[in-house]
Subunit: 134 residues, 4 copies
């Protein structure tokens, strides 16, 4: 298998939602497949609408860059090697909250979380990632 | 309440998914709020990827036009009154599968379904609409 | 003077709104200047949201084509001379409801009306045009 | 009610226009509903045309982020948490002049003002916000 199933994606969204509820921060949560195409999405009540696009693009960015979005931040600063990267490939998100979903060492998709602080977004994304292993 | 909750949207997606399974046609199912912003989305295993955008735009079109998307088809034909409508407002979908979600007579959101024949898309969207009333 | 003032544009919107109220059809009404740039806009309560873009583009189309939008419809049909025109210049509207605003024989702007039938849109646009002369 | 009426939006635009006149700076003033869709707009004579888009996007950004646009500026600087935010969600405006319009604690829309200095834009937006309470 190389693309995440809806069943697995729903499990990821559910775990991320539970974590968001636990920390008291409503979130937008997106899961994409190994091609960056949306599989499952949920916007929790009260989560900001700007994060619909941001969460989806975080997941897509992880697939396109084959990396968590948090890894990009130092690379795109003024003076750094990839300055301007965020405007390419249809818009990349360069702050944390996008993470790869893997099965063994195969990438099967990615999760993007947005609406809280970057730290909160990452912790909720990690909860989604962890759900796949269980 | 004028915007659908995630809980209600999830119920709509679940009912639509069940109907899609019943007719043996995997679907993309999107639910948006009363402003056309995505609340919940599911792409069933095997459903075509083009329909991610189409299902979402069907739901959004229903909100923007305050009508089911199937109502638009005769109006936009060559020689008809609204020929060319589909390229306006960021792209409107003019074939069936987008329907309003209401509470009493208040629009609280819309569902968009895409990946099957138009007849199948509409029947799955109707199953989603029906779930709200129960 | 070659560009409509806000004061004149407001008078146009007011007259159009009054006509829309009279015929019982809430409308989106846009007035642009002689460069096609928005000067005044009103969306009446209950008017569909898709028509925000459509009304504005109708007014802009009148400026860009130097003609009422209704004049374009026969020219863009399959087999006709300007087939495909509607997708050019950032999106042109080819059905009625966009009309030039003139002072003497000088174009000073345009009005675009959308949300009703094309006949209704035109009658409301005409009321806006008439307001300038009075 | 969760979406601002045209009547209320017109009152907001009128108060903002009065303030702009008072400080001698012609402005673009946009009011959107709770979904970020335009309800009313006025460009005062002499106000720059670039601000048509900017004022509208300021109002829309306030809705999408559920915050005044001025709050975003420190967050998107090089090295800061949300660096790159402005290019997401269809283009967000990250400088002051966009503010939420509320009724009690319910967001019913937003105002965006643009054409002056940021300080001027904010003071005119504030005049618009204040008009709703009276």
């Amino acid at each position: 298998m190389t693309a995440i199933t809806l069943s697995a994606a729903a499990k990821v969204v559910e775990a991320a939602t539970a974590k968001a509820t636990e920390i008291g921060q409503p979130m937008n949560i997106a899961v994409v497949d190994d091609g960056g195409h949306l599989v499952a999405f949920a916007r929790m009540d009260g989560a900001i609408k700007a994060s619909i696009d941001i969460s989806t693009k975080k997941a897509r960015t992880s697939i396109l860059m084959n990396a968590p979005t948090a890894a990009l931040m130092p690379l795109v600063q003024p003076g750094a090697e990839l300055y301007g990267l965020e405007q390419l490939s249809g818009g990349l998100v360069i702050f944390g909250g996008g993470m790869l979903l893997t099965e063994g060492d195969v990438v099967i998709g990615a999760i993007g979380v947005s609406a809280g602080s970057v730290e909160q977004d990452i912790s909720v994304a990690e909860a989604g990632v962890a759900a796949l292993g269980s």
